[in-house]
Amino acid sequence: MGDRLEICQTSGDRFEICPRNEEAILKTAAGRLINKVEALGTTTRGWIETVGRGSIFFFQGLLQLLVLPVQFSKILEHTWFIGMKSMMVIVLTGIFTGMVLGLQGYYTLVRFGSEGMLGSAVALTLIRELGPVLTAIMVAARAGSAMAAEIGVMRISEQIDALETMDVNPVRYLFAPRIVAGVISFPLLTALFDVIGIFGGYLTGSLLLGINPGIYLYRVRDSVIMADVTGGFIKSLVFSLVVTTVCCSRGYFTHLHTTGGFGAKGVSHSTTTAVVNSCVLILVFDYIITYLLL
């Protein structure tokens, strides 16, 4: 018979592929193709499920924010973790980003004889784009990974189930304070990044390459308008929701993503995907917001 398919009449006018030939069918080229297509379908369904779960999780979190009492001490704790503890890394990345913008900008602008515009170039790049985006990515890497890992460990060691048995809503307990802490921390960290970055541009531009500091600062003030600043803040607010939601939901649903492994491996997979997905989504949302704001 080889690889030929066999159709047999089962009852009356119904025809079916014979069950005993099923393996043979799967070995045929068509069968292999079907397998591939099926795998693609499974993956797609997994993505859709993840997005759906994440969205529902997000709205549950928002809903829990409306439930009194306000969880002040937990918000404080997470603000400390997301905001205060990220300051050092933000200062470092901010100053070097500003410095490199100063260098690159200077050598580009000097060709057109308009190195006096360096202040505008640095300030606009930072306030519109790099400030919110790099801050969000750094915080996702630092605090987001920790969120995903912590919640993931709580999931696999049944601590989340334990919360449920105590009639404590885990979404409220774990996610809601982190949303608030993120919404507080991200814009402040972004502002810090912008200011430090502008200072970094001043370091290279004025101290190293000799642009008049007065002109540099005048250009900074002159070229940036209020819409740029508010746009940057809007971005950082959206990114805060993206990062907290992605990282918390990845950790929270660790047990449902078994492709990356179980137990400790599952947590490590959750942590990695949380950071990667956050970063990708930050850039996607950055494009969308920029498009809408312009």
């Binding site: 603000t79 507080i184 810090l192 912008d194 940036v224 308008i225």
Partner: protein
Amino acid sequence: MKKTNIELYVGLFMIIGLLCSAYLVVQVGGLKLTRKDHYSVYAYFSSVSGLKPGANVEMAGVAIGNVSRISLDKEQLLAKLELSIDNHYMFSEDVIASVKTSGIIGDKYIDLAPGGSEFDLEPGATIFNTESSLDIESLVSKYIFSDKE
């Protein structure tokens, strides 16, 4: 003990963050905290090509305000500018407003040249004497074509 530490650090973080935000918003973004120190006047131009909201309004090279809004007047089909002028400065009603460029490829701004009338320009009034922006492209093409002929 540990709790107060967290509160202290979060407080510190908030202060630093808010100071940075305030610097960005007030100094860099140029938010007017008090609305009262500016007044608005209006001016119509046949073209304000290249002019952006927020551009400077200068007199004798000194910045005295900025362009707060640019819109198209639907009846006259002219560009309508709202100029926000510092309260310290008053002009005569026949002041001349023109769109100028700083350098050849620099930013556009509005230049005010003093007039001679004895009446002051009231807040909310309209400047009648205006000169539209110099169109470099048409100047250049004019020069080229005249050369050919």
